[in-house]
Amino acid sequence: MKYVDEFRDGELAKNIAANIAREAAPQRQYRLMEFCGGHTHAISRYGIADLLPPNVRMIHGPGCPVCVLPIGRVDQAIRLAREHGVILCTYADTLRVPASDNLSLMRAKAGGADVRMIYSTQDALKIARANPGREVVFLAIGFETTTPPTAVAIKQADAEGLKNFSILCNHVLTPAAMHAILAVEGGVALDGFVGPAHVSTVIGSKPYEPFAADYGKPVVIAGFEPLDVMQAILMLVRQVNEGRAAVENEFTRAVTREGNLKAQELVAEVFELRDMFEWRGLGSVPHSALQLRPKYAAFDAEQKFKIDYVAVPDNKACECAAILRGQKRPQECRIFGTVCTPENPVGSCMVSSEGACAAHYSYGRFRETV
């Protein structure tokens, strides 16, 4: 397939792998975090770890939208569907995120709640237009990539006077999460970041500059194709070797320093910063998420239906928090692969194929047997 196969070429991969192996200093460890679930998925699906020397280790970051969604947020959505009788629309992976009382949106649906899987915010608008007598709520999740489409939907609904449409807003911000990881007391043993692909097309490379300047961590923004990831790893190894910390851009075919200004303006017009947002794994992080501006309050399901957020602690045995912070590997969790599997996820990292645990379970668990 044109424009795709070029970035999955086995011969080129071998060349980059040979360069990484040659340039990585044998006496040192390279602990590199790929922030995005998209990268986690690519690394696992293409077996990239097999092409790296043992001292270059990839640590899976928290950039998986459903993984960072805390139980209390899913509970809110379930309450909307069950107690307020709304049509609850959301993206597919969200349906399986574990909530309180052994529920998930999928189980709530099986129990009679009207929960619908959609592919885009436009589908949610269509459902709202087709059901003028019902309230339709879009459970909006995701990082900066999925925020602009939500902003568009809000503006459309406003322009059309669509009164039965609202959103449960859980849009979160990448740089805030990276700050939270680096600000952990005692520090996290990280030598650099593979920076987000699609997120960076929107926000540009500029917001990562403080991580290089203030924390001294190299950041290389990379596309989601396997050769992108490998090239970024090589660039990170080089920065570490040279004692440099800069923001570099491997994904120049899509990412600029300034990003997509039109999308940024649109988001700024519709959303404002939340004072505080609870992330699964990272806890409450100030200014790390978005809420609708007062002008669009009529579309805010939290206000419309007066459903408060109630924090719910994670399952005690679940290590998602440490895994999302890069402090533990999936296989170091006691319930990984036994109690917690993709069919019956306990923690959210086991839900999406972008989650560290699901990626390791689905693609990499042969490694523990050899």
């Binding site: 795709v4 086995g10 293409y46 077996g47 092409l51 592919y119 599997t341 042969f366």
Partner: protein, 349 residues
């Protein structure tokens, strides 16, 4: 001078008519639907007996019986419809056991209000598929449910076939060292359905691969190759079917990603929707596991058949107490090819 009146004074309106509750009531309307539509299309000596069941000659040897329900949405898709799909699906389930399919039954659950013109199209498609396959539909049943209680039409078919002498195929017979063959590209059926459902269009349309595989399987058995397992990778796709075989046989597998062919539009659609073609349904493909020494012979026999033209050896059976199906990726890395988790595409067949 009174002539005997025909049973049904007015013929079924197959252009504008709709299914109503009387078509499932057991009365005259149902009899008319059966006579004018089903019996006319399926037309064979067994159905013509007109009884509650068909009387069939007993075949020599062991019988194979399989059943399959079809709830696909949309009912009509590029490359087929629920009618031919319901014939192919059950024929294939019988054939992958190594049996020659002989007879089919068909059960219809119709929704009140369903256009008779659509039903006619479906029934004629079934009749054509059955005729082409040489497997008659010898008995059937029709029920009607109220509007809103069904989704147009659901079809359950059951097939009976007779095993060839000496043929022993089973999911638990794969042995370390065996080769794994795949009869062509993967993901065509699932993506044909999904792209139609989602209104995705590509420069080259995605066409379902729905087909009856008993001819190809007969050619494979004729080749004399030592076949151990045959399966058609339908729901859950290639990945799930291989995991079923690995679990039943208590073995592992190593696949070569570069040997698994995917049609370009299918690959593009999967890429676009974030799906892995390894998990997308097929309706006209099969997986064969055979002794290593016979792999080349089997490959040639399959490639000589129109439905096996693109057959490839895609991997090898390994000894592995964990039963992992693994794959060497195009990139040169290694990964597990796991069972499908959750549901990828509902109502695909």
């Amino acid at each position: 001078m009174s002539a005997v009146k025909p049973n049904y004074t007015r013929a079924l309106d197959l252009k504008h008519g709709r299914v109503d509750m009387s078509h499932g009531s057991g009365g005259r309307a149902m009899a008319q639907l059966i006579t004018e539509l089903f019996a006319a299309a399926f037309d064979n000596e067994y159905l013509a007996q007109g009884n509650d069941g068909a009387t069939l000659p007993v075949a020599n040897g062991r019988l194979v019986m399989a059943t399959d329900s079809h709830v696909v949405s949309p009912l009509f898709f590029a490359g087929g419809d629920i009618g031919c799909l319901s014939v192919h699906g059950t024929i294939n389930d019988v054939a992958v056991m190594g049996a020659q399919p002989l007879y089919l039954s068909a059960g219809f659950i119709l929704e009140e209000g369903f256009p008779l013109a659509d039903l006619k199209r479906i029934v004629e498609s079934m009749a054509r598929a059955a005729r082409e396959a040489g497997v008659p539909i010898v008995t059937g049943d029709t029920k009607v449910v109220e509007q809103g209680k069904g989704d147009g039409v659901f079809i359950t078919t059951t097939g009976v076939g007779v095993l060839r002498e000496g043929v022993q195929l089973s999911g638990d017979l794969a042995q370390p060292g065996d080769r794994i063959l795949l009869s062509g590209t993967i993901g065509d059926h699932g993506m044909a359905i999904l792209s139609q459902r989602e209104g995705l269009t590509f420069s080259a349309p995605i066409v379902s691969d729905t087909a009856a595989l008993h001819g190809l399987i007969a050619a494979m058995l004729d080749s004399g190759a030592k076949l151990r397992v045959l399966r058609d990778p339908t729901r859950g796709g290639l990945a799930t079917t291989l995991n079923e075989i690995a679990r039943q046989s208590g073995v592992g597998m190593m696949l070569q990603e570069s040997a698994i062919a995917v049609n370009q539009p299918v690959a593009a659609a999967c890429e676009f929707l974030g799906l892995d073609p390894l998990y997308v349904a097929n309706e006209g493909k099969l997986i064969a596991v055979c002794a290593a020494a016979d792999a080349e012979r089997l490959l040639q026999a399959m490639r000589a058949h129109p439905l096996g033209r693109d057959t490839a050896i895609i991997g090898e059976v390994l000894e592995d107490p964990h039963g992992f199906v693994q794959m060497t990726t195009r990139l040169g890395g290694r990964r597990v090819v796991d069972w499908l988790a959750g549901e990828q595409l509902p109502r695909i067949c």
